[in-house]
């Protein structure tokens, strides 16, 4: 599929050189959003502020000043990033009407380099889901087949990139929410090492695994955006030191030791997905990569670990929505306790309630050791197995999700929906970086290839993914 956008670095260079204007790019982006509104990828545009910012950037260029590495480049933020110019709702009724009093740190960093947020993307409310069907507002449609889901929870962001609404979009990835929709919708989805980017100003889901995801058409585009956002932030104590740079030459595949994850190629993987992944592996091998099978025996437990730890953190993080300080507030409640309970009953959707209930259960007195502490200990076991695997291999590879995009409404059982995350949660549990690359099609539906690297090797992963991507085109 051809794109109306040049590579991001070229777009910014053209704006800086006066060959195109920031306003022109913003208007092109806004027009595409309007033309493609039937896909329901976007909750709101930030058009007024975006045009104002574009004029400011064009003014800098006219005055001969440096407008930044992303000068005039439009982007779309998932609706759980606090931005000026539109509401931030995390696609939830309880935050409807919320107007951010400050912006997310990564948004500030992107703006400082001249990027312009043009819209907020739909998502599963609070990030709880794998299809965007849990949005409290509407369901986003898959860009390749409107009867199917785009994946989730960053489904609006993935669809917006594939439909060319902007050169890149931000997502979040707590258990696969950037990589899985990238796989199902057909773009690049990057999840960094935990802590590489600040979580400040992003609606919290599970603080120990929340990361900022980047969705783009190419790895090079994603790497440039990562390069702008990465690094420590005083407003997030879990941020880590960055590497020198995330952009640059692609790494040769020759001699790279890549472990193919045995547990993910087994039972439960849809045949057509398996065959696309196997073909992709053959291409990597033909380019000189040394691919062999690796077993991580505790991997099948990763999803159970996730669905204890993450609801536990969700139940804590969502306790702030109590109707007193911001968000929806039940008008008829006469006392504080009733106000809390009624506000949360009406304001939260069913999946948020379900996860609050699970989290409350696993953290409650008498069950804490059996669930939460046990899960944190199995997490250690998983980390140890990944560390062992990364002694033998530079990278790990496998599918992103067991299936291609499924039909809207096809998965009604919540536990079945949780199983969509089975191949993505491990990277979040161990904190390592992971990328989903478009690997091919099954019929008209995209299939992603997942590559993972050790913690803090984001630069190496992006360099390798750049080469792999060229082979898979």
């Amino acid at each position: 599929m051809g794109s109306q956008w040049l590579p991001i670095a070229d777009l910014a260079a053209d704006v800086q050189a006066g060959k195109t204007s920031a306003l022109e790019l913003v208007e092109k982006s806004l027009k595409t959003i309007e033309d493609q509104q039937d896909y329901k990828a976007i909750i709101a545009t930030t058009s007024d502020r975006a045009k104002e910012r574009a004029k400011t950037i064009d003014g800098l260029v006219a005055a001969g000043k440096n407008a930044g590495r992303l000068a005039g480049v439009p982007f779309i933020a998932k609706d759980n990033f606090l931005v000026y110019g539109a509401e931030t709702t995390a696609a939830s009724n309880i935050l409807k009407g919320f107007s951010a009093p400050y912006q997310a740190s990564v948004i500030e960093k992107l703006e400082a380099e001249g990027a312009i947020c043009v819209a907020k993307a739909n998502m599963d409310a609070f990030g709880h889901g794998a299809s965007t069907e849990n949005s409290d507002f509407f369901v986003t449609k898959n860009p390749h087949d409107t009867s199917r889901v785009p994946g989730g929870s960053s489904g609006g962001s993935a669809t917006s990139v594939v439909l060319d609404m902007a050169p890149f979009a931000l997502g979040t990835d707590t258990g696969g929410s950037t990589r899985q929709p990238a796989s199902m919708s057909g773009c690049v989805g990057y999840k960094p090492t935990y802590g590489l980017m600040s979580r400040s100003g992003i609606v919290a889901m599970a603080s120990s695994t929340d990361t900022v995801g980047t969705l783009a058409r190419t790895t090079s585009d994603a790497a440039l955006v990562v390069d702008v956002m990465a690094g420590r932030d005083d407003l997030d104590g879990t941020t880590i030191e960055r590497q020198d740079s995330y952009v640059g030459a692609h790494a040769s595949l020759k001699g790279q030791k890549i472990g193919l994850i045995k547990e993910w190629m087994a039972e439960g993987l849809q045949d057509d997905v398996k065959s696309v992944v196997e073909t992709a592996i053959t291409k990597l091998q033909a380019a000189g990569a040394e691919v062999s099978e690796v077993s991580l025996p505790s991997l099948p437990l990763a999803l159970a670990v996730y669905y204890i730890l993450v609801p536990a953190e969700i139940s804590s993080n969502l306790s702030r929505y109590d109707g007193q300080r911001y968000g929806y507030s039940s008008p008829e409640a006469k006392d504080l306790e009733t106000s809390y309970r009624r506000t949360r009953e009406i304001g939260f959707g069913k999946e948020a309630k379900r996860r609050i209930m699970i989290g409350t259960y696993v953290l409650s007195s008498g069950y804490y050791d059996a669930y939460y502490k046990k899960a944190q200990t199995v997490r250690t076991k998983l980390i140890n197995e990944f560390n062992d695997a990364f002694k033998q291999f530079d990278f790990l590879v496998g599918p992103v999700a067991p299936t291609t995009a499924f039909k809207i409404g096809a998965i009604a059982d919540p536990l079945q929906m949780y199983l969509c995350d089975v191949m993505t949660v491990a990277a979040n549990m161990v904190g390592c970086p992971s990328i989903s690359l478009p690997a091919g099609l099954s019929g008209n539906l995209p299939v992603g290839l997942q590559l993972m690297a050790p913690q803090k090797a984001d630069k190496q992963l992006l360099a390798l993914a750049g080469s792999a991507e060229d082979l898979l085109k």
Binding site: S99, Y102, G195, D335, L336, M357, A375, T377, Q455
Partner: protein, 100 residues
């Protein structure tokens, strides 16, 4: 410890109370079966051998991150931070009655 979670209606009501969440009758019925199924799935961890292993609480190994205890001016006015509050009185957040 082996726990086989089979939640009953009363368990759901207790959890909802702990979470300050009112549920309607349909939700109570649905959650009773759904939560039992989800907990049944995650209970497979109880068979995992974790002898000698410690829980992981921070995945990149950071410990007690601190900053200088000094005031910073982020440039926000109280009215900016209060604009989303449902009920404000004299620049204070007004909550519902606490004691009956």
């Amino acid at each position: 410890m082996l726990i086989m979670a089979k939640l009953k209606r009363d368990d759901i009501l207790k959890l909802a109370q702990l979470a300050r969440l009112d549920l309607d009758e349909d939700e109570i019925t649905e959650f009773t079966s759904e939560l039992s199924a989800i907990l049944g799935y995650v209970e497979q961890l109880q068979n995992a051998d974790t002898t000698g292993l410690k829980p992981t609480n921070q995945v990149t190994g950071l410990l007690s991150v601190t900053r200088d205890d000094e005031m910073r001016d982020y440039g926000y006015e109280p009215k900016d931070l209060l604009k989303n509050v449902p009920t404000v009185k004299d620049d204070l957040i007004k909550v519902k009655r606490i004691i009956g």
